[in-house]
């Protein structure tokens, strides 16, 4: 499941050279950085979607200055005392000071097209956006908040590994916990829109992220259960071109829409109008 915890390199937040130009991992062309940033961190040549931070994502999707963070105080513990080459504690401390984040997702209340929502966004800079106790707890409790306040729930996933290995079974159990929370929202008729970004795999994809009433993905994201390397090693053949991409998942009937990052907010506003407004 989390065989991919540290895998898909393309998803790593690249070290953007401080210069004005950078090489796009999608088309290998040199692109003008300002133009890329202006387009929501999307390559102007090939539409490669660069990873963005949770803060950038919230800005991109929510009405200006409406986001209020919830459960900000939750921070990771080290329940297993996990020590490999380096300890989990060390990696946490380092990642926290590097990113200013406590863990791999941010949740809160916001408005999108003036519709009050609860929104969560995972941040791939933090241990690949993987789900441990804090991420699971934040997702489950923000779904509960959406249920209690009759707000739609929107979650933007992005996690290479899914369940966070360093928290062992606590991480795996977050899959059941988040799925159970989605069920409770479902029972009161609440809306859940799941947005998938590159990559959403393993324990994240096999729980809450797959349970949206509507599931939307950014183009060319890696979406699936088992990581491509694990599959390659198991079946000992090459994988077909475009395997586990957003487009592959759309074609096989698992997604409702593939939407460019630039169009995502507009799409959400249209969707919320259908589900949350009278006419």
């Amino acid at each position: 499941m989390s065989d991919e915890v540290r895998e898909p390199r393309s998803s790593r937040r690249r070290d953007v050279p401080s210069g004005l130009w950078l090489r796009c991992p999608g088309c290998s062309k040199m692109i003008y950085k300002n133009l890329m940033v202006e387009r929501g961190n999307v390559c102007p040549e090939c539409s490669y979607h660069f990873p963005i931070t949770s803060e950038e994502r919230i800005q991109l999707l929510c009405d200006p200055d409406t986001f209020v963070e919830h459960l900000k105080e939750l921070a990771p513990a080290d329940p297993l005392g996990f020590i490999a080459k380096r300890s989990y504690r060390e990696r946490l401390d380092e990642t926290q000071s590097k990113t200013g984040l406590r863990d791999a997702c941010v949740v809160g209340r916001a408005e999108i097209g003036q519709v009050p929502v609860v929104i969560g966004v995972s941040d791939s800079r933090f241990l690949m956006g993987s789900m441990g106790s804090v991420v699971g707890e934040k997702i489950a409790r923000s779904i509960e908040l959406a249920r209690e306040e009759s707000r739609p729930f929107i979650f933007v996933s992005g996690s290479g590994g899914g369940a966070r290995m360093d928290e062992g079974m606590f991480s795996l159990m977050q899959m059941a916990k988040t799925a159970a929370a989605v069920q409770r929202l479902h029972e009161v008729g609440g809306l859940f829109v799941s947005i998938l970004t590159n990559p959403t795999m393993g324990g994240a994809m096999a729980s809450f992220a797959a349970l949206g009433d509507v599931i939307i993905a950014e183009p060319k994201a890696l979406i699936g259960f088992a990581g491509p390397n694990v599959i390659k090693q198991t079946i000992k053949t090459e994988l077909p071109e475009g395997f586990q991409s957003s487009e592959f998942n759309l074609e096989h009937g698992f997604l409702d829409l593939v939407v460019d990052r630039q169009e995502m907010r507009g799409t959400l506003i249209r969707m919320l109008a259908y589900f949350c407004q009278e006419a």
């Binding site: 513990a77 795996l172 159990m173 694990v230 395997f243």
Partner: protein
Amino acid sequence: MENESSAHGLDFEAPIVELENRISELRSFSESSEIDLSGQLEELEKKCEEKKRAIYSHLNPWQRVQIARHPGRPRTTDYIHGFVSDFLELHGDGTYRDDPAIITGLGRIRGRKVMIVGHRKGKTNQEKVACFFGMPHPEGYRKAIKKMRLAEKFGIPIISFINTAGAFPGIEAEERGQAFVIAKNLQAMASLKVPVVAVVIGEGGSGGAIGIGVADRILMLENSYYSVISPEGCSAILWKDTSHAPRAAEILKLTSSDLSNFQIVDEVIEEPIGGAHRDPMSTIRAVEEAILRHLDEVSDLDPEDRKLKRFHKYMAIGRYADQQQQVVEDQG
């Protein structure tokens, strides 16, 4: 099973297997030659018991993983033969194919109606291949949830036997939505009002295990394991090859006693000295007893309460720190 187990002797069991072989040789010699060797036999048997006790009281996590995978260990089908009467296997997933890696069907345990759902690894080589060695495809998970919904409709409690290295990682499994079906199962199992008791009988391999494992009670055989990733997979990530699996097994905290300490598992079912593969019958009886006891307890609850309690059970799993950096243990 005895024969199968000694044919797959585990390294750390070698001294036990050697004594067991000497005992059986001596016994057959004594029988064929009609010479009374009961004194020597008794001596050897005592020595063998002591050896078993010595080795099995100091098992490390990696040794337990190996025991959990032992081919002579009772499997889902052995438990069904062992204590489920009038078993009526139901095959359909309603969508694509009958996946033999998951077996489902109606049955009775001491007269009580149950729906059985479990991973199936297969016994013969042909079966093993057909079952992908117990690694289900999406249709297996779909079959499981279809039968659980059927049980829900008729108020029949569900017993789930967990024993898989994981959901199968393959091209077709992804094409048919492995992640999506597992997610749907987790959600559907949270919606059930009937009692659900899950028992990890061997390998609890990650998403493939929890995909049929959301339950009111989670029981675990002493030498089974339950983990977010296989020790080999963990080793490959941390040390770039699988040779450090024993160390990975240690740090992942995947044993029954670890998970009982974490309050993730509700009860650890003790195995006979020498492991379940040495005495399948008494293991099967112990599992039957534990299942019935937990089933009785959860059956007493009002269906809505039961479902709510299950939700809170999962909400309470997780350890994190609050603002004051105090670790919040197992509270939602």
